[in-house]
Amino acid sequence: MGDTISFPHLDYAALWPMLILFGAACVGVLVEAFVPKAWRNTVQLVLSLLAMGAALVMVIKRAAAGVTAANAHTASDAISIDKAGLFLQGALLVLGIVSLLLIGERTLETGGPFVAQAAITVGSEADRRQAARESGATEVYPLALFALAGMLLFVTANDLLVMFVALEVFSLPLYLLCALARRKRLLSQEAAVKYFLLGAFASAFFLFGVAMVYGFANAVDFNSIHANISTSDKPFALLLIGLAMLAIGLLFKVAAVPFHVWTPDVYQGAPTPVTAFMAACTKAAAFGGLARVLYVGFDRSNWNFTPVLGVIAVLTMLVGAVLAVTQTDLKRLLAYSSVANAGYLLVGVLGGGAAGLSSMLFYLVAYGFAIIAAFALLTLVRDADGEATHLSRWAGLGRRSPFFASVFTFLLLAFAGLPLTSGFTAKFAVFGAAIGGGQTWLVLFGVLSSIILAFPYLRVIVMMWLSEPGDTTPSVSIPGALTSAALMVGVLVTLLLGVAPSSLLDLANNAASFVR
């Protein structure tokens, strides 16, 4: 053998958060094999929480040590742990911990929100037996850890190939988690298949885009792409089509119109804790990746992609808001509202500059906590068949359990963007960034869609408080400790970020820079 393999330098201090999560996921797989069934859930939950906590500590340590252009890149420049990347990693971990509390809840129904054996035919005798008695699959914990670790890698990926690998690593466990609902299993399996097929399609677009960008810029890492764009002698159309295909892959994950059609079906069919995880964390990861592609690899010194993405942002806001009005199922309503929120986030990104980036970071955290709390509440309102998500079932809930109805009202007002909630601060930040970046037209459409979107929220509020409770109005279960904790954290953060947002705003402002 002539040449020896030279191992690249790995900065373990920067890689620890991901290594901890991947390692814990592997240990979780072993737990499945060796720990007795009665103990598995507890062991897995504690293991996952500890791992996420440890990873969060590592992220904070790294941030405290200071990030410079010199120490940001590691592993042959494959990943870039810069300030924005660290902020996103921290946000993902915090949101991941809160949604893991929902995933770990086992007291609301026998065995928890996940099916015990997904292979059993739906509706058979064995299926009824397992729905009533057996405890849910605990493989969901390692799968969630794999997904979260993939997200951490995705937001720090510094070249397109690593980004593609990370995209697959965080998508595949999510497809699987979607299929594991205990109730309404056919809906859940349908959601998983739809998500998987469309996701595979989007990944193929992304990969084709990578190939075309490579053809144009002769490189896949963002630095070289940025440097080679202006010097390449290939036709510009090659780059444009490549970037468009990359964008299709990423916009699919953030659920932007016209790549949003999977969102309502998947959000409705997936087990509600997984929906919360997806709504908060997938959105944060996908926007983190999208922002890095747009800010680092293809920044606007070379051309202006704002008109195209701006049209997508406007469409996303309007279509999401209008379709939310027509929904009769709360999970679907929140799904369309999450589509519209992707539009607001895009407005922030298109605002450009540090202000745009910091507004996006703030919005992701604010929205993440609010949506997790909303889905946590959805898991509480249930009848004999599981969660009662149809809108008509919520009529009169305010009379029956005023406390939970008040909390949900507060969250809906936060989504609508009323002052004293995080929704107001977040919308103010993204719209402010867009005006500062000279994109006033986006803000006009943003305000318009916010007004449309307020209607479905208010309709739910009116139904809860002004209707008489009927015989079919379900009761609100007393949440277990885990759901209570998640709910409390979500609501408190939503309130805090509305009343005193300055500390997180400062943090986001400081973090709003990528290292090229």
Partner: protein, 165 residues
């Protein structure tokens, strides 16, 4: 035009024809077998371009494992072996989209790389590939193994039934 150019063109045409046959045949099993032609022709292209290791991997993984897996899936899911006339394939939109994308990309690539001469990079041996993977690409490579593990866990979760009871 050298012999190599002719061989490349023939293999390319074969790959495209195989691909068209995959999506146009009415019989699921034959679609799987046409896939052998398409993927095999791509392996020939790799071989002609000197990427011998990639060519053999293509044969082993795609022509071998993937097609076999596909045929197994057809057998195990009791899919019809004969023709499936109920397959929903609107011809006109498919032709429009396929032709527009195919011809557009062909034109684009011809304009971009048509007059480009690239020096032969030398044989693509396993050693070169291994050096690249374990040097520059070691992190994504290791992460891919994690992806495989996640897929494995997921497959077991979705398909395993406990035999007791």
């Amino acid at each position: 035009m050298t012999l190599l150019d002719v061989a490349l063109a023939v293999a390319g045409l074969l790959a495209v024809a195989g691909g068209v046959a995959v999506v146009s045949t009415k019989q699921l099993v034959r679609a799987g077998l046409w896939l052998v032609v398409a993927l095999g022709a791509v392996a020939v292209e790799f071989l002609l371009l000197g990427a011998e290791f990639a060519a053999w991997v293509q044969v082993l993984i795609y022509v071998g494992a993937v097609v076999v897996l596909l045929l197994f899936a057809v057998m195990l899911t009791r899919a019809p072996i004969g023709p499936s006339p109920d397959l929903d394939r609107p011809l006109l939109p498919a032709l429009l989209v396929g032709a527009a994308a195919g011809l557009g990309l062909a034109g684009l690539f011809a304009a971009a790389f048509g007059r480009l001469t690239v020096p032969a990079p030398g044989a693509g041996t396993a050693q070169k590939l291994g050096t690249a993977i374990f040097d520059d690409w070691v992190l994504p490579f290791e992460v891919l193994s994690v992806l495989l593990l996640a897929a494995l866990v997921g497959a077991i979760v979705l398909s395993r039934r406990e035999s007791t009871r």
